[in-house]
């Protein structure tokens, strides 16, 4: 099993590296968008999938990253790479006081609180026109070469996956899951819930911030509507749930599945696109609410059990 996942991982990596040399610009753009979605999804997965604090506002960090990059390039003439990194750092720094405040809220209150925070940032971006360009936005030098962006986004996906893998195996990860399952019981078992939650929140803010920076550089334009795209929030949440919230592979598999599905449906039935996608989502939530990863895991375990039983002479 370990060998299989190692080999398939290596093959995937080679394909990802090879795509820009083989595929059309359109396809490279498609993959870039998918990586952006998946990176945001991994951020959401940490705070909502592992820790159980359902957020409808991770896109606020996406917008923060986008604006930081744009302002760094437009006003200070920094390189876009430095702008993107600064955005990530700013997001983590901002997440500290924000989380300290917000993580007192639970369940729907936290979700709505974060949704409200997106609105606050949206208004700030619209109002502070001397810095952000306001409603007119900021125009950045257009990007001729998509490849550096593509590879940066791909690297972010790998990094996010690696970080999630490390978290899941660590003591920190187990504490997050305990908070998700029963915060009161976790507290009684010695988990410093406030600190642990805050750490998860700060970590989770870095990924959408980087994604936002890369996205804005690709768009070479930023305004409040493109910096805080509400459908990105919903898309990434759906991807994570579709793939399996609180799993290492969930955001990646869900992101690939929904991106490809969206693309195919859009190409064939442009008018029915939203209707079909929506129906599909409802079906998935009804019949596999835990997502793909737990479903696959159970099927494999059942088959293994059957093989073991028949080997032991109990099978039919």
């Amino acid at each position: 099993m370990k060998k299989i996942s190692l080999v398939s991982g290596a093959v995937c990596l080679l394909v990802v590296i090879g795509i820009p040399f083989l595929a059309s610009d359109y396809l490279v753009g498609f993959f870039f968008n998918m990586f952006i979605f998946v990176t945001v999804a991994y951020g959401w997965n940490l705070i909502s999938g592992y820790t159980g604090y359902l957020s409808f506002g991770q896109i606020s960090f996406f917008g923060l990253g986008a604006y930081t990059m744009a302002i760094a390039v437009f006003r200070f003439h920094w390189s876009w790479q430095l702008g993107v990194l600064t955005g990530a750092v700013l997001a983590v720094v901002l997440a500290a006081p924000l989380g300290w405040l917000m993580l007192r809220l639970r369940g729907p209150y936290f979700a709505l609180g974060m949704l409200g925070f997106v609105q606050v940032l949206y208004m700030v971006a619209s109002a502070a026109s001397s810095v952000t360009g306001g409603g007119e936005g900021l125009y950045l030098p257009p990007t001729a070469d998509l490849h550096p962006l593509y590879y940066s986004a791909a690297a972010m996906v790998v990094l996010a996956m690696g970080a999630t893998w490390a978290v899941e195996r660590s003591a920190f990860g187990l504490r997050l899951q305990a908070i998700r399952e029963d915060e009161l019981a976790a507290d009684a078992m010695g988990v410093e819930t406030t600190r642990v939650k805050l750490a998860a929140f700060m970590l989770s803010s870095a990924f959408p911030a980087v994604a936002g920076g890369l996205y804005a550089w690709r768009l070479s334009y930023i305004d409040p509507a493109s910096a805080f795209p509400g459908n990105y929030e919903i898309q990434t949440i759906l991807m994570t749930i579709f793939g399996g919230a609180g799993t290492i592979m969930g955001p990646l598999l869900g992101g690939i599945a929904l991106s490809v599905m969206g693309e195919v449906i859009w190409a064939r039935f442009a008018e029915l696109h939203l209707l079909l996608t929506g129906s599909l989502i409802i079906l998935v939530l009804l019949f596999m609410p835990e997502g793909m990863v737990p479903l696959v895991r159970r099927t494999v375990a059942r088959r293994r059990g059957r093989i073991a039983r028949s080997a032991a002479g109990e099978g039919a």
């Binding site: 003591a171 187990l174 399952e181 976790a186 009684a188 078992m189 010695g190």
Partner: protein, 247 residues
């Protein structure tokens, strides 16, 4: 023996209701103290006050001679006070082993060490067979045992057991008695809140405190307390209490 835990005239009201009303008692190292009383006597509130889940209105709580009043549950847990919940609260989608490993993290250096410690405790509590099963799939009796196992994994000095025998079959009660008694051989003291399982209380307790409507009613050895007419009256009603006195 020295005093491990001391509760001094602890009081807590919810609105007009005095849930715990000036209760005091001491727990010596390695002893088992039972707190008995009818439903609503204040046992669970008392446990919530000791662990820091609730803040007392007045009074003090001393652990190893120091006041722990105002400390959060995760602090008191790491100091050495484990607890179980009356309505069991396992982490449902974590395995039995991970449930206990989480608690063991409080004292372990890393997750690997915590897992080893957890495996030992599952062995002691006869839960090893279910180590890889999600906790939500355990029977009630096993979930109650898992509660005790998690508390033990904290390597505590004392465990507060909230109705760990309620709803169990007689055989399961006997198994739990053995487990609770084994705590003392490990040097862990216990405070057991019990409503109904009086036979068990008699078997496990070094001392018993009786609560009624949040107030301290009596304290003594099991024999003393069970003969106390006040206690009989509280449990069985005034009629039986009077007959007891007459006899």
């Amino acid at each position: 023996m020295s005093t491990l835990l001391e509760v001094r005239s602890l009081t807590k009201s919810f609105g007009g209701l005095r849930a715990v009303d000036g209760v005091s008692f001491k727990v010596e190292e390695g002893m088992i103290l039972s707190i008995i009383g009818p439903n609503g006597a204040g046992k669970t509130t008392l446990f919530n006050l000791i662990t820091g889940a609730l803040a007392p209105d007045s009074g003090d709580i001393l652990f190893e001679g120091r006041s722990i009043k105002g400390l959060k549950p995760n602090r008191t847990a790491r100091l050495g006070i484990g607890r179980t919940f009356q309505i069991v609260r396992p982490f449902p989608f974590l395995t039995t082993l991970d449930n206990v490993t989480l608690a063991a993290l409080a004292k372990a250096k890393n997750r690997r060490e915590a897992r080893l410690r957890a495996a030992e405790i599952l062995e002691i509590t006869h839960l090893s067979t279910f180590a890889r099963l999600d906790a939500r799939n355990l029977t009630l009796a096993r979930r109650k045992r898992l509660e005790i196992a998690r508390a033990m994994a904290l390597s505590p000095r004392i465990i507060l057991l909230d109705e760990v025998m309620a709803g169990l079959t007689p055989v399961e009660v006997d198994e739990t008695i053995v487990l609770i008694k084994s705590l003392t051989t490990m040097g862990i003291a216990a405070v057991a809140g019990v409503e109904h399982v009086m036979q068990a209380v008699r078997k496990i307790s070094d001392r018993i405190v009786v609560l009624n409507f949040g107030q301290w009613l009596a304290e003594g050895t099991p024999g003393e307390v069970m003969r106390n007419p006040e206690v009989i009256r509280a449990y069985l009603g005034s009629h039986y209490g009077e007959t007891g006195e007459d006899a």
